[in-house]
């Protein structure tokens, strides 16, 4: 019954209104008194009409009958009946709703895919047992279908564990808000299956016997299929019904945005933008670069079609109502591979003398707006200050002198240890961008960046096991920013330290006795450790040496990451180094909301709620201390063309049939019937009154 109505609550109104009408009929009228010679015949006449029961009266009362019909028709119209056959699964159903970035695509009807998915999920949920309301259960109607609601994007969240209460389910579905991150199906599937398995009843001696789920659940997946990890997903569910939401594929988006200051001329800002066209039409648009809202540069872009119209990446059309048979494995195998689109890369170079918020903006409007802008935060131009702590090392002096640095201070280890606190650090932060510790192990390590040569600072988990005379460099990571263009091929090392590094350390280079060069981060400090003394090698004589120092200083000064690699994506954690005395950072989120992140013992606050793209501003005591830009930069999500269901390891995947909420509604018919009956009722009433 309930499956036929979109507003079943209206039927409860009927339960109240119709008896009220009856009661009104039973209520005594305030009658006009009229004297007659005898009531004998009147009483007989009334008795004749009433005969015995009130139902006799009701049966003869055309007006009441008509009014009941009017009310019934009106109430049915309110209940929004739909012409839809019922199809219910018994057992358990998991409604999985994708709320990732691509689900924010606006479709032709002006609604986002998430809105459509939620509506479809609600329609499906309402098709199942509506008997969740407690007093029907009380009346002995047993609920049949248990529903669970899971939302997934980068991570999955159970919005509602298995329940038969339709109100809870509806509330859980309606509560789902979009996030700007990519989708990951794996975690969602794991979570759903964890709930799906029946409560294990393990008896003694039977611990190893797998207990199968009492009822295999049906997974209903409401997604556009834009899921990077879809191909790897495996399901143990009994059945998967895949509802492909959305149809739009036209999208041009920024898939990469990097900014950096020129090393030689820090006032020059270099911006690198990668724009892709995922649609089927060639696109001509332009890209504008804004600094704090002011346009500073713009370039036109011509993009080839990202994919040909003849071969769209999906074989399933979301709005196709003819339910196709279960998708076969080849169709599933295609899913999860996002088409690359056609790419245009642009580079901007503009002098920017201040710190600021750089925004790249595509002037073209499309259904998916998240990737039409990208943000970056740039620091004020500044040359680096480097402290060299060494007894005496003219090789390093020479190299540093040749680098475009603001200042290089050289002090001896003794002076370093004896220096007053204010000279080396301020508020726990090092005054120098990079400190080079040459053969000097120290405990005095203000928060900062350290290049340690032939020494391991205390407090790190790196163990040293003496020195080895037989020391050969055998491997180095050419992809790491520090080792870029550093050729260690013919570098001979006389002797070096045997290092044992923890797993979190990045090995930049390895020797025959262990790691030779390591990048490790600890408590807000970044270290690049070189396990041998440079003067014990011919490294300084190679071209690679100044390049290595250059890379290391540049890498360390950018906070331990390559400047061009600073990218925060939705879901990544923000790390805010708080000034001394602050215990919490206030965060201004994109969209005007605020949040608070508490600092740990080291004065670092972390915030994981980066669900939306945009600029996050960290404040401490009302003062801005840092800004972060979170961008989508995900070609997989930007390729918004809906994709078919993946294979899920051979589980029966069925293409779900979309329910229509608008067209099959027939409430107008009932409203019309109510009107007609109302007219008849009026006619009957007036006819009665004129007798």
């Amino acid at each position: 019954m309930g499956n036929w109505f979109l507003n079943p609550w209206a039927l409860w109104i009927a339960g109240g209104v119709l008896p009220t009408l009856l009661i009104l009929y039973f209520l005594k009228l305030r009658r006009k008194q009229e004297t007659v010679p005898s009531t004998l015949l009147w009483k007989r006449a009334v008795q004749d009409l009433q005969v015995n029961a009130p139902f006799q009266k009701l049966r003869k009362n055309l007006l009441l009958l008509l009014q009941m019909l009017v009310l019934s028709a009106g109430v049915i119209a309110l209940a929004r009946p739909i012409l839809k056959g019922t199809q219910t699964f018994d057992g358990r159903v998991v409604l999985m709703i994708d709320h990732s970035a691509s689900m924010q695509t606006v479709e032709e009807d002006g609604r986002t895919r998430l809105a459509i998915a939620k509506e479809q999920a609600l329609l499906q949920a309402r098709r199942f047992n509506r008997t969740g309301s407690s007093w029907l259960q009380f009346a002995g109607v047993q609920p049949k279908t248990q529903l669970m609601v899971v939302s997934f994007a980068g991570d999955a969240r159970v919005r509602q564990p298995f329940s038969t209460n339709i109100n809870e389910i509806v509330a859980a579905i309606e509560d789902i808000q979009p996030v700007d991150g990519p989708s990951d199906l794996t975690e969602a599937m794991q979570m759903a299956e964890a709930y799906m398995s029946a409560p294990a009843m393990i008896t003694k001696g039977m611990e190893d016997t797998p207990v199968s789920a009492a009822q295999p659940a049906t997974l209903m997946m409401f997604t556009d299929g834009v899921i990077a990890s879809a191909a790897e997903s495996v399901s143990r569910a009994g059945r998967i019904v895949w509802y492909t939401i959305g149809a739009a594929s036209d999208n041009v988006g920024i898939t990469a945005f990097r900014t950096r200051r020129d090393y030689e001329n820090p006032e020059i800002l270099q911006a690198f933008v990668e724009v892709r066209n995922f649609g089927t039409q060639p696109v001509t648009t332009d890209l504008s670069i804004y600094l704090d809202g002011q346009l500073i540069d713009a370039k036109p872009i011509d993009l080839e079609p990202g994919m040909s119209e003849a071969a769209p990446p999906t074989n399933a059309n979301g709005n196709d109502n003819a339910a196709p048979p279960a998708t076969s494995a080849p169709a599933g195998a295609d899913a999860g591979r996002s088409p690359e689109g056609s790419v245009v890369s642009l580079t901007f170079e503009r002098p920017v003398l201040t710190a600021g918020h750089i925004e790249a903006r595509l002037s073209r409007k499309d259904g998916f707006t998240l990737d039409n802008t990208a943000h970056a935060i740039i620091p004020a131009p500044r040359k680096l200050r480097v402290l060299l702590v060494t007894a005496k090392n003219w090789l390093l002096d020479q190299v540093l002198a040749g680098l475009p640095l603001e200042k290089v201070d050289t002090i001896t280890p003794a002076t370093y240890e004896a220096a007053p606190a204010g000279q080396l650090d301020q508020d726990g932060q090092s005054r120098y961008d990079v400190v080079i510790l040459d053969k000097h192990a120290t405990k005095r390590l203000p928060v900062g960046n350290y290049l340690c040569i032939n020494t391991v600072p205390e407090g790190l988990k790196i163990e040293t096991a003496g020195e080895s005379d037989d020391y050969r460099l055998i491997w180095w990571d050419e992809t790491h920013p520090v080792m870029r263009y550093v050729d260690l091929d013919f570098v001979a090392v006389q002797k070096g330290m045997k290092l044992a590094t923890p797993p979190e350390a990045e090995k930049l280079s390895e020797s025959n006795v262990g790691p030779a060069m390591v990048h490790i981060a600890n408590d807000g400090r970044h270290y690049v450790i070189v396990g041998f003394a440079i003067e014990n090698s011919d490294f300084p004589r190679k071209v690679a040496f100044p390049v290595f120092i250059y890379n290391a200083i540049r890498f360390l000064s950018s906070g331990g990451v390559a400047e061009s690699d600073v990218r925060l994506r939705p879901g990544d954690a923000l790390r805010v180094q708080l000034p001394a005395g602050s215990s919490a950072a206030e965060l201004k989120l994109p969209g005007g909301r605020t949040a608070t992140a508490r600092a740990d013992a080291a004065g670092v606050a972390r915030f994981g709620g980066t669900e939306r793209v945009g600029v996050y501003e960290a404040l401490a005591g009302g003062k801005q201390i840092d800004r972060f830009a979170v961008n989508l930069e995900d070609p997989d999500e930007s390729s918004i063309a809906p994709r078919a269901a993946p294979a899920f390891g051979g589980v029966d995947v069925q293409q779900g049939e979309m329910l229509k909420a608008s067209t099959p509604e027939i409430w107008r018919w009932f409203a019309g019937i109510a009107l007609v009956i109302l007219l008849v009722e009026w006619w009957v009433y007036t006819r009665r009154a004129t007798i």
Partner: protein, 305 residues
């Protein structure tokens, strides 16, 4: 009396019960009885007994002891047989008029009570003129007004005064009134009952009491046009004028139809009840001019000639 309207129809509108013109018409009438009763005194009515009227009835043989004066001497002269010439005796007739004086009779336009009084007055007048014994009884739950044993034209004024002085009050209880009448009334004769017969106690028992006196009974049911065609509508609380009983009705087409059907059935039932028991039943709406009723309807029914 001289200023009284000559047209009987205009009498309807006045309170006057009888006009001289109408009375002169009534002078020619007499009340008939389908039964022949023995009267008590010599009257103007043929009796079962042979008597001293001028109307020849029969001959019979003389027996010793007969009055010699009634021997038909002419017969004796011709046939030499002694035969007695018998004449019809003329005696008086008991005419009793029972009329309903309960509150319900004081109703309607034209008024039922006035109508009843007029009919009673007219019949009483006829009776008086014909030297019958006229008894008038007004009843509601019992006999409340009575004027009995009047005879002769000279009582006309008294009779009209009596009728005019009667107020309508109380509730009707025909059975009790009839029982009362049966006890009180001695002698046989014509009994006229004028009422609406709307008695919640029923009329059957009352009719049985009347029948016990072996009288020639006439029942005249008088109803006002408001009762025959009610002009009511809407949701009403009907109040019975006699016993203040109430009936809540929503006057609808079907209810009105049902009322009329019930009225029809009630009247038919009364008529049948009367007819089966030898009672002449006459229905009259007050819209019927009462002179027409008396001069035409009652004649047709054989009450008057």
């Amino acid at each position: 009396m001289s200023s009284a309207p000559s047209n009987p129809r205009r009498v309807e509108e006045s309170k006057q019960l009888l006009t001289p013109e109408f009375m002169s018409k009534l002078d020619a009438l007499e009340i008939l009885s389908r039964k022949i009763f023995t009267g008590t005194v010599k009257g103007e009515r043929r009796s079962k007994r042979m008597g001293e009227s001028v109307e020849f009835a029969d001959y019979r043989n003389y027996v010793v002891g007969d009055d010699l004066r009634v021997i038909d001497w002419n017969i004796y002269a011709r046939l030499e047989r002694l035969l007695l010439k018998l004449f019809m005796a003329e005696e008086d007739l008991n005419v009793s008029v029972l009329f309903d004086v309960s509150k319900s009779m004081n109703w309607g336009k034209p008024n039922k009570g006035l109508f009843a009084k007029r009919v009673a007055a007219a019949l009483a007048y006829i009776g008086l003129v014909r030297m019958d014994r006229v008894n008038l009884y007004g009843f509601n739950s019992r006999l409340v007004h009575e004027m009995t044993g009047i005879r002769g034209r000279r009582f006309t004024g008294q009779m009209i005064k009596f009728l005019e002085g009667i107020e309508f009050e109380g509730y009707s209880h025909f059975t009790e009134a009839a029982r009362h009448f049966a006890i009180r009334h001695r002698g046989k004769g014509v009994v006229l009952v004028i009422s609406d017969f709307f008695d919640k106690g029923g009329y059957a028992d009352g009719v049985r009491y009347l029948l016990s006196r072996d009288c020639d009974i006439y029942a005249i049911q008088v109803l006002s046009p408001e009762e025959i065609e009610p002009k009511l509508s809407g949701d009403l609380k009907l109040l019975d004028v006699e016993d203040e009983d109430t009936a809540e009705v929503s006057v609808t087409g079907p209810l009105l139809a049902r009322y009329k059907a019930n009225l029809q059935a009630y009247c038919s039932e009364l008529k049948e009840h009367c007819t089966r028991r030898g009672i002449t039943y006459l229905f009259s709406a007050t819209t019927v001019p009462f002179d027409v009723l008396v001069m035409s309807y009652l004649r047709q029914r054989g009450l008057v000639r």
